[in-house]
């Protein structure tokens, strides 16, 4: 019989344990913990100043933490310089070596690892093929477009076979069409190489398209983390709900709790919804670590696609006057406001759009409503 090892750290590829980073008069990160399995695509998502780039820089070794421990593959790397860590970084401005050809850029790290010239050549052409730049090896960096530079930076960082690839807003400098294309490329490359990627962005669409695990950050803390679907549909906090996309947010007080179903007393009447999961929950139903008290302030979060105006669809949420409709192609965004000042945003099929000034009765299923604690401050 084998005895399973008690330490859970050994199963995690990347462990960030209670890491803080303080600058004089400023807290960049406050007791952040993060555990990532091998081969996962992790996206650190947050507004500027949320600490996501600081966290990436700490994992890469460019910044040292004020406290806490970082482990990669079980090994404590907290005090190791970037060169000694099994990580490489793709920088926001790519940081390619302008005096070297494309191939020489990719070869740089391989030379330092003492690979023979033949092996290097093979590896460089493999990497060029991987990023779709097969014929561009001898080109100079200056002759490349933004998207091509991005690919070279990726190839250079992946050539040395890092355990973890760190990407600092890698698509930020590209235009929208190219960004979506590179997203797909990144996803393909990550699957193909089967490596752990940690990617920083402020674009929630990019995060949802790429991530196995989204980490939503704000003010140096992790607000929520989990699979994209869970974080979007069942956010753990109001901030995560707001940052992940549009929603109708109805404030109220907790009236009753029955298992995971919470009844909220609002100005729109009683509203039943699902309790928010714990931060870091992998599934919708993991709510164990939360404590709810009757009378506490809370907020009901409803995504626009989950509000219908048809009767007999879950519970009715008062009545509201349509103030504005915005045509979006395959749907119409409808903004409405109730007499009590509650605003609603919902997506309506293009065929049956209510006109401005119409009165609608928004409906939503209990399962589509998430109750999150009202944030302090």
């Amino acid at each position: 019989m084998t005895v399973s090892h008690p330490s859970s750290a050994s199963t995690n590829h990347l462990s960030v344990e209670a890491v803080s980073k303080h600058y004089p008069g400023q807290i960049a990160l406050e007791t952040v913990s993060l555990h990532v399995e091998r081969g996962n695509y992790v996206v650190l998502l947050g507004p500027s100043g949320s600490g996501k780039t600081t966290l990436l820089s700490l994992i890469g070794g460019f910044t040292l933490p004020s406290s806490g421990v970082i482990r990669i593959g079980g090994q404590d790397v907290t005090d190791l310089p970037p060169a000694k860590r099994p990580t490489t970084t793709v920088f926001q401005d790519y940081a390619l070596f302008p005096h070297m050809s494309v191939a020489a850029n990719i070869e740089f790290g391989l030379k330092l690892r003492g690979l023979k010239a033949d092996a290097r050549k093979v590896r460089v052409s493999e990497m060029l093929e991987l990023v779709g730049l097969g014929q561009h090896g001898e080109r100079s960096i200056q002759a490349l477009s933004g998207g091509q530079r991005q690919r070279v930076a990726l190839a250079r960082a992946l050539a040395v076979e890092p355990e973890i690839l760190l990407l600092d807003e890698p698509l930020g400098a590209l235009d929208l069409a190219l960004r979506r294309q590179m997203q797909d490329e990144l996803h393909r490359i990550q699957r193909q190489m089967n490596r752990t990627f940690v990617h920083v962005t402020h674009d929630q669409e990019e995060a949802m398209a790429l991530a196995d695990l989204i980490v939503v950050m704000s003010h140096g803390r992790i607000e929520d983390m989990g699979p994209p679907r869970r974080v979007y549909m069942r956010p753990a906090t109001r901030f995560a709900a707001t940052f992940m996309g549009e929603s109708t947010q109805i404030e109220g007080r907790i009236h009753a709790q029955d298992g995971q179903v919470i009844t909220l007393e609002t100005q729109q009447g009683f509203l039943r919804g699902m309790a928010a999961p714990a931060e870091g929950a992998m599934t919708d139903t993991d709510t164990q670590s939360r404590t709810w008290c009757i009378g506490d302030k809370a907020v009901a979060i409803i995504r626009p696609e989950n509000i219908k105006t048809t009767p007999d669809y879950g519970q009715a949420i008062g009545q509201a006057l349509v103030c504005e409709t915005v045509f979006q192609g395959n749907y119409v965004r409808v903004f409405a406001r109730s007499e009590t000042g509650q605003t609603f945003v919902l997506h309506s099929p293009a065929r049956q759009v209510p006109a401005s000034g119409d009165t609608i009765t928004p409906h939503a299923l209990v399962d589509d409503i998430t109750i999150v604690p009202a944030q302090e401050g």
Binding site: G60, P82, T87, T89
Partner: protein, 272 residues
């Protein structure tokens, strides 16, 4: 018809303006280069004095100058002192600029100030100071001392040129190289120096030219082995002689070739 006339008048005005500008530029160049032209012209003088009227041309004085061992060895000394002091000035200036650009520390502004301060100190003071110190330490005047004085004079210049060329994009390139496993010396030699090559070459050439030209400290700090300006000064004490014109012309054309070569090198690098 009147419109045509105005345009015509405007054309004249423009022409006059252009003419004046051209004349002004020509006058400026004339002012700068006339002495050099005169120097070069009278190096071909067929006579004992490099003064008008011009007779010749002859290459006699060039032959004389190249046969003059004293002048040739002085030229050799100048070359060694120039190359050596320029190289060390650029190395020291580059490292100082690198340190100040890449690290934050207390008293940074003070260090920067002290580094460029020698630029404001007159050559005479630098030369005398070194002379006093050398005699205090019982070191005889020599080309080594001249070399040191030229480093003192030129290092701040090399530092300023390098400082102006550092930017944040390079920091990330260095970070990328370190991230891929390069040690600091390797990052400096394989990433920073090649990226800075145009600035470093320009700084080297400037330092070399200034050292090649420098008379005052070279005069104060040398004894038996002398540099070219000191040798020319020695010749001039014996009166005007087309031989000095010949050596001066050679120095001028050498320096001009060097400058053009450097410009060509840098231009070719940029356009590729």
């Amino acid at each position: 018809m009147s419109a045509v006339q105005t345009r015509y008048a405007g054309g004249w005005k423009q022409l006059i303006c252009k003419g004046l500008t051209a004349t002004y530029i020509a006058a400026c160049f004339c002012f700068i280069f006339a002495p050099v032209a005169v120097l070069v012209l009278f190096s071909f003088q067929d006579g004992r004095l490099p003064v008008p009227p011009f007779h010749g041309p002859t290459l006699h004085w060039y032959g004389q100058a190249l046969a003059n061992d004293r002048l040739l060895s002085a030229m050799g000394h100048s070359f060694v002192v120039g190359a050596g002091s320029a190289f060390l000035s650029v190395v020291l200036g580059f490292l100082a600029a690198y340190g100040l650009a890449r690290y934050r520390f207390r008293g940074q502004a003070l260090v920067r100030g002290i580094l460029v301060l020698p630029m404001a100190v007159s050559y005479l003071i630098v030369g005398m100071g070194l002379l006093v110190m050398a005699s205090w330490l019982n070191i005889a005047p020599s080309l080594w001392l001249v070399c040191i004085s030229h480093i003192v004079i030129n290092m701040p210049l090399a530092f300023a040129i390098c400082s102006a060329q550092f930017n944040p994009a390079q920091v990330r390139m260095e970070m990328a190289a370190a991230d891929l496993g390069a040690s600091l010396p390797r990052v400096l030699l394989q990433i920073t120096v090649p990226m800075m090559a145009p600035a470093l070459i320009a700084a080297f050439i400037l330092c070399f030219t200034l050292s090649w030209d420098e008379f005052l400290t070279a005069f104060l700090l040398s004894r038996f082995d002398i540099t070219l300006p000191v040798a020319i000064w020695g010749l001039l004490r014996g009166g005007l002689n087309p031989q000095t014109n010949a050596i001066g012309s050679m120095v001028f054309f050498g320096a001009a070739a060097l400058a053009l070569g450097a410009e060509y090198l840098m231009f070719r690098k940029k356009s590729s």
